[in-house]
């Protein structure tokens, strides 16, 4: 079972994704949280703290995996598992901007999608959080436009892979 959760900034997509995990989770499973965010400043630290608080007491084992998401499987035990991945926009940015020069859009898309496919095949339940970054109408520099385009492509491919796609709007889940 794969659920893709998408929403804008401050839409409540994380809390919803955690609820979704709890609804598919069963006692005989391990519960993993794949964290992709790299912290560079106090604001990032605060964001992580807020998310940690949301998750606390829910029994998640956290794996930090800012890149090469498929490799997180090496850090998990065998057997049944429910995995929450947060979030595709960080993962994509990390993949694209890790080196001195941005990587090609198509390479980034392939890398993220193939990693996610591997995760889907090797987990019982996979809940993936992604971001709606597409509606501010601003034309950015080419690199940022490439990033937006890569994100759009990845979201479409993940939506095709998923059993359910949910958009969270002002905390309200809308199944699309």
């Amino acid at each position: 079972m794969m659920i893709l959760v998408i929403g804008g900034s401050g839409s409540g997509k994380s809390s919803y994704a955690e609820e979704a995990v709890c609804s598919v989770f069963e006692e005989d499973m391990k519960k993993y949280y794949l964290a992709t965010m790299q912290v560079f400043d106090e604001e990032g630290q605060k964001k992580i703290e807020r998310h940690r608080k949301l998750r606390s007491g829910k029994g998640f084992l956290t794996i930090e995996q800012p890149r090469s998401i498929g490799r997180s499987l090496e850090k998990m035990d065998g057997g049944k598992k429910t995995v929450l991945l947060e979030c595709i926009s960080n993962l994509t940015a990390n993949e694209m901007f890790a080196g001195e020069r941005p990587r090609l859009e198509m390479q980034v898309v392939e890398n993220v999608v193939s990693g996610l496919r591997k995760l889907k095949e090797n987990t019982t339940n996979l809940v993936v959080v992604s971001n709606n970054i597409f509606e501010d109408g601003i034309v950015y520099d080419q690199t940022t436009m490439d990033y937006i385009h890569a994100m759009g492509e990845i979201n479409q491919r993940l939506a095709a892979m998923a059993d359910r796609v949910v958009e969270v709007v002002a905390g309200i889940p809308v199944v699309i």
């Binding site: 929403g7 804008g8 900034s9 401050g10 839409s11 409540g12 604001e43 709606n132 970054i133 597409f134 509606e135 501010d136 109408g137 601003i138 950015y140 940022t144 937006i148 709007v169 002002a170 905390g171 309200i172 809308v174």
Partner: protein, 127 residues
């Protein structure tokens, strides 16, 4: 309270005016009325996100203030842009503002008896 949200220039205000048979001059644009306003009339607030921005700039606490307002004007219609669906702004204030508008909309959506999202002038009832 009814909450109407949607992207920029999606026809949210026209949608509300037509649906509830109201006039444009009855609408509060980016400000909240105080208690001197008659509670008989339906109070409509447009551009609620502008009000949030101004309250933050003035050192206010919009999350609390909007609750206080709603305790008095239970039957109002609130209209706000959804501003969180874009690239993370470089500017720290804009980032914080965007996040806070999102969180306020979640609070309001919880409290609302009805939430509609307007796209291309068409209202979708999501609660």
């Amino acid at each position: 309270m009814k909450l109407v949200i949607g992207g920029y220039a999606q026809g949210k205000l026209s949608y509300v005016l037509e649906k509830y048979g109201l006039q444009k001059d009855e609408v509060w644009d980016g400000i909240l009325p105080d208690h001197t306003v008659s509670e008989q009339k339906t109070v409509v607030i447009d551009h609620l996100h502008h009000w949030v921005k101004n309250r933050i700039l003035d050192g206010g606490y919009p999350e609390k203030e909007i609750e206080t307002f709603l305790n008095e004007f239970e039957d109002c219609i609130l209209i706000s842009d959804e501003i969180g669906n874009g690239i993370i702004p470089l500017n720290a204030f804009e980032r914080g503002y965007r996040e806070r508008v999102g969180r306020i909309l979640i609070l309001l959506a919880k409290r609302a008896e009805e939430v509609e999202r307007v796209i291309c002038g068409i209202g979708q009832k999501i609660k």
